[in-house]
């Protein structure tokens, strides 16, 4: 049975890492539902959040293949109930349409959205939430003259206790380079 999985992948900031990840998915013909890439809380470590729909068996296989990549530090796979996640969306709606109905206040309040900018021509509204909530607001705004709509990929935080930082610290301590090893090979 196919289901939705969120893959959180921590990697070194190496050129081409995204390419290597997508190669693994492309080979197996797995579509990326959403993707977000950014620097993580640890300096120099990048975080990729991918959403894919596939079987539990397949996601385990591809996660292991991702973790096998030299520059990848750690891969976590989560089902939706194991994480807290959000997407962000921006809506640009005609001012005329929205003001005429006098509904803007109601919409913004009930959807916990936010108004970012108001001009005589358009209003920009921001909403964070799950995909379904963002789609609901989209449906509500459409009749008032939607000019533009963009949504981001997913960002997620896990419910687990052990964090990447402690994992990295353990690794570094286990492998601390001894200073006497350094100069050995410079005499050739």
């Amino acid at each position: 049975m196919k289901q939705e999985f969120t893959i959180s992948l921590f990697s070194e900031n190496h050129i081409g890492i995204l390419n290597q990840i997508t190669i693994i998915l492309t080979r197996r013909q797995i579509n990326i539902e959403s993707i977000t890439a950014s620097e993580s809380a640890v300096k120099g470590v990048h975080l990729l959040t991918l959403v894919v729909k596939t079987t539990p068996d397949m996601v385990r296989k591809i996660a292991r293949q991702m973790e096998k990549l030299v520059e990848v530090l750690k891969v976590f796979v989560h089902t939706s109930d194991e994480i807290i996640y959000q997407e962000i969306a921006l809506y640009k709606v005609t001012t005329k349409g929205l003001m005429s109905g006098n509904v803007i206040d109601h919409i913004v309040r009930t959807h916990y959205a936010r108004i970012l900018e108001v001009s005589p021509e358009y209003i920009v509204i921001e909403k964070t939430g799950h995909k379904t909530e963002i789609t609901e607001l989209l449906a509500q705004l459409e009749p008032y003259g939607l000019l533009q709509f963009v949504r981001s990929g997913r960002v997620a935080i896990t419910r687990q206790v052990k964090e990447l930082v402690s994992y990295l610290r353990e690794l570094d301590e286990a492998h601390r380079v001894k200073p006497e090893e350094v100069e050995t090979y410079n005499r050739n």
Binding site: I15, E67, V70, Y185, N186, N188
Partner: protein, 580 residues
Amino acid sequence: MTEQERHEETARANGHEHITGAEALLKCLIAEGVDTIFGYPGGAIMPVYDKLLDYVDKLRHILTRHEQGAAHAAQAYAMVTGKPGICFTTSGPGATNLVTGIANAYLDSVPVIFITAQVVSGLIGTDAFQETDILGVSMPVTKWNCQVKRSQELPDAVAKAFYIATTGRPGPVLIDITKDAQIEKLYFKYKQCNYLRSYNPHIPLNTRAIESASIMINHAERPLILAGHGILISGAVNELREFAEKTGIPVAVTLLGLSCFPTGHRLYTGFLGMHGNYGPNLLTNEADLIIAIGMRFDDRVTGNLKKYAKKARIIHIEIDEAEINKNVQVDLEIHNDAREVLQHLIPLVKQKSYESWIREFRICDKTEYEKVIKQETRPESGDIRMGEVVREVSELTGGKAIIVTDVGQNQMSAARYFKFTEPYTLVTSGGMGTMGFGLPASVGAKTGKPEKQVVAFIGDGGFQMTIQELGTILHYNIPVKLIILNNGFLGMVRQWQDMFFKKRYASTELVNPDFVTVAQGFRIPAKKVEKREDLKGSLAGMLEAEGPYLLEISVEKEGNVLPMVEPGASVSEVTLNYKS
């Protein structure tokens, strides 16, 4: 003072040499113990080749006749010596010609360091002359790759490349060096790499899993060891033998595992897979415990997965976690180095013997001998068979030669009928099945082990894919013994057309040149054998020859390699007889 200037100031104060990137590359290789390089020069890599002239006493360069040949030779060199192979090529076509060789090394887990040159960094991305995005091209078939645009980054990149290629599950790596980085000077300092936080090849031993394994092994009634390339890579040949002898468990090997266990041993049951031996294939489905060590359950080994080893519990000892539960669901996974696991496991297992279980293998051996092996290796009439050529070579060399094969029927015959007695004596293209591998690989194998007799079995088809490497053999007088098993067909494809495509021979019959004349054109002594009575004498003459030698042997035109686990069939549904 900028950081760069400060860095140089310290380097100068510490007495580090001020040399070009090209020279630094060579010094890095020497520091890593390299003495042989296979390659082909071109525009972008000229600074490196120029510097090679100053290091001829330390670095030997073998100029192949095509970059693919250099890649295969470097891989074969690595397979017989255990040291990483080194391969140099220029940018653009030089780099792309490597791709088959890189992919071949990747699928067979062989450490090869590929150094490609790149156009001047300012021209990258402009479709410059001989520019190709080799990083992008090689990404799916390398364990790791990188590009060096500044000479000072070079030593670290090389150190990292060696560390990654040779540790964990080994594999090919590629460093792409721009021409300006080869020319630019740096203060040279080399430090070997032994740690990358994102890459951890030394996994702490899972002693609990090993203890569980020992309990499963001690209670098994029909256990079977499947030994793969991992035994050879991790250097566990002695450990495997000790483990098998103590537990009394029979051993089957994969194609790339051949030579990791002596073929004459009382516990040896043969080689697994599509054209493997009857016993180990058939009895895989009768075993109650399978101990898979350093192998990856390739589809050519397992046959139909739905009917594979259903009576057995499976222990998988494998260093690459991504291979565990990839094709076959296992009952116990031990994600560690094969040698370390066996060392830890041996004291925990009980001394046992499985006489009646082993007798079943011997009964299968007898059936296979009567139905297949006898007429293949000791025919009394008809054309020369591939199997009999291999048997003769095996007997004449006492099973001590290094065997190199191409791909197809020649490869399967060599794997089936050569009696391997020493480890690291088979060089073959397993995962990729690259036709054209044999000839350049023989160059690499002989270069790596000059003291060993190197015999290559090559088909008439594959030989013509890399035939230009006869030039390399001539150039360096490499005393390899080449056996062309000539049936005038692309034999394995023809066999499939015979068996599964109603004998419709589409584009498999070859119009061949006179191979003896071709060899003589390259000033390589050669002879053609057509009659059985000439076979043994000619082979002996070839083996005694001092220099290189080519023997073209006309073999049965439409011979099939049997037994065969047909595609889609289970390993227990082995075809022993096939009459078209």
